[in-house]
Symmetry: C2
Subunit: 368 residues, 2 copies
């Protein structure tokens, strides 16, 4: 790939601060990777789809260290305590000690799973994230949330544990399926809506460049998304206040995921959830209908679904699931809404009749 320019952000969390190296060929940035490894042992955790593509390149960068691997089957259904135990077994079988470094090479599942293993192996060891999906690059690689699923609920078992380094190699997205790329963009749109009208505009303008995976365009949206998330997380590491803004579209989206039996990707559900949040914000009198329409148009321009499938998303079912969401406090539904591009607000005083109107809006969502 030759010489490439890497951007370097810092997630500022005091003594747990860490850098994010962003750019084409960041995976070959041996200096940054070696500097983040304090011991002599490394355990790479990856999946059966990603490992054949990038494992050998990563091994080359780690030449001279003791490198073991743990390869998990691909998919959300393997984000389990059983996979977690497989990582623990591999660490123990190869005699990894407290100075080991775990490296997560994969999407959100591998990142969350490996992070949880790192958080709890010998009460906490170092780890490095190398996300290989757009969603993982812009979302789960910043924030320190690690988790596995329980059969009765997603991300129910986990810990907060910050990585030592995130390598955001924009070239790895060339091998990402198009549907996953689109779904990842939904989270980028979210950052625009809650914090950055300029990013929102950039997405409108550079839609085709992003979809053809242009390095510069991808690098820009990844960097800006990580910057925004890093700022929010630094201000509120444990999610008591401002961090809730990151859930814009997610309480609706989670209900969509459940009611579509997780056939919709997370980003697809969040895309539709954002339209519901925007529609409700308009009904609350907080958002101009023209802005709600712009949000809808942007989601649609990335060919993400914008019409709720009425046969699956019955309003009463949506309400029931939203009422059981993790983010519910003391029985009151808390929602993140919008008061304009770049301006999110948390509210627990949404009139139920307005919420119902949004849930039955169907094709009329964000159309006024």
């Amino acid at each position: 790939m030759g010489l490439s320019v890497l951007e370097r952000l810092t997630v500022d969390l005091g003594e747990r601060s860490y850098p994010i190296v962003i750019g084409a060929d960041a995976l070959a940035d041996a200096a940054s990777i070696r500097a983040a490894i304090r011991g002599r042992q490394v355990m790479i955790v990856s999946n059966e789809t990603v490992a054949p593509l990038y494992l050998s390149a990563l091994r080359a960068v780690l030449d001279g260290l003791t490198v073991d691997t743990c390869i998990i089957p691909d998919g959300e259904s393997f984000k389990t305590l059983a996979s977690y135990e497989a990582i623990m077994d591999a660490l123990m079988a190869h005699g990894h000690n407290r100075t080991t470094t775990l490296v997560a090479l994969g999407g959100g599942v591998i990142g969350d799973l490996t992070g949880f293993a790192a958080a709890t192996y010998q009460r906490g060891v170092d780890f490095i994230q190398i996300p290989t999906t757009l969603l993982a690059l812009v979302d789960s690689s910043v924030g320190g949330k690690t988790a596995v699923n329980h059969p009765r609920g997603k991300n129910m078992i986990g810990a907060f544990h910050q990585p030592r380094l995130v390598i955001a190699d924009t070239e790895v997205l060339r091998t990402l399926p198009e549907r996953e790329l689109r779904a990842g963009v939904a989270e980028v749109i979210k950052y625009g809506v809650i914090r950055d009208a300029e990013l929102f505009e950039y997405l409108r303008r550079e839609c085709s460049a992003i979809m053809r995976r242009d390095s510069v365009a991808i690098g820009h949206i990844v960097a800006r998304s990580c910057e925004i998330k890093a700022q929010v997380v630094a201000a509120d590491e444990r999610e008591s206040g401002e961090r809730a803004h990151l859930n814009f579209g997610h309480t609706f989206g989670h209900a969509v995921e459940v009611l579509t039996d997780f056939e919709w990707l997370h980003g697809e559900a969040v895309g539709l959830g954002m339209l519901m949040a925007a529609d409700l914000s308009w009904r609350m009198g907080w958002l101009d209908i023209a802005v709600a329409r712009r949000i809808r148009d942007l989601v649609e321009s990335f060919q993400l679904p914008v019409i709720p499938p009425s046969n699956r998303l019955a309003p009463e079912d949506m309400l029931a699931i939203m009422g059981h969401d993790k983010k519910v406090m003391d029985g009151r539904l808390r929602l993140v809404l919008s008061r304009g591009l770049g301006h999110a607000v948390v509210t627990d005083s949404v009139p139920i009749d307005l919420l119902r109107k949004t849930l039955v809006a169907g094709e009329g969502l964000c159309r006024g």
Copy 2:
């Protein structure tokens, strides 16, 4: 039991500070227990030995809350990821949310296991410790270390997570087997040796009161032990420096545990390990032989073993295991030794020939 006087200590860890309530009948201190519970849901984790003795008394104190239970079989062999998963299943099956409180009612196994579950359920919920063994009262209930065992190593999976409250009810020790009581005293002797010559002297004077489980004597040694551990932990929460002093006798003791196939209780192994550490301290020229003898006499007065079983503790085997201890850094064996009662030191410069002399001393340990 009528009116009883409860002592209240605070473990000072900033916003993670918590109280320890010590005394006869502390388990009935509803005010402290209710004050530590922030939500409406409680999950009591206990074992099949302890639950029949104290579960109903605890339930009475929690009257009006939603109380579920998870009862694990008794014993170190159940301190596993499988038991941890059983707790997670119970929490999910009963719909416990982020505001739940886990209550550990039992010895060190239940405390460590429940603490790890609390550290990781929904990325961390509250927990309360109610230790029912002397060892758990004076050791594992202070410090925030939580863990389960891996088949290849003890406490290899865990997290740091502080309780909201520790209830140290001295009356529960009335049902503790005598061998476990003696083993618990070994850790109290340790606190005397590393930090408090007066506590050491108290143990000498009140040996018989302690062994007949006199409330005042037990209350005193529990309070003083918790105070010392709380001070050390507050000064060094993550075990980088001073906290290592708590390992006095433990590197030797761990090797004794392994070579006796864990037939010796932890406290018994630590008792002998302290004599080895004292003997080596004398050989280093750091400890008067008279003081080493006093340590030996005190251990012996509680009928803890003071003579290494030569057929099981071959010096080369001891050395091999000590060299693989978790506390080894960069290949150098770090030991905690004594420079007098109340004065512990960490060293990584013990001449191997002196260490060997201690390991072959046999009956001559601490005799000069």
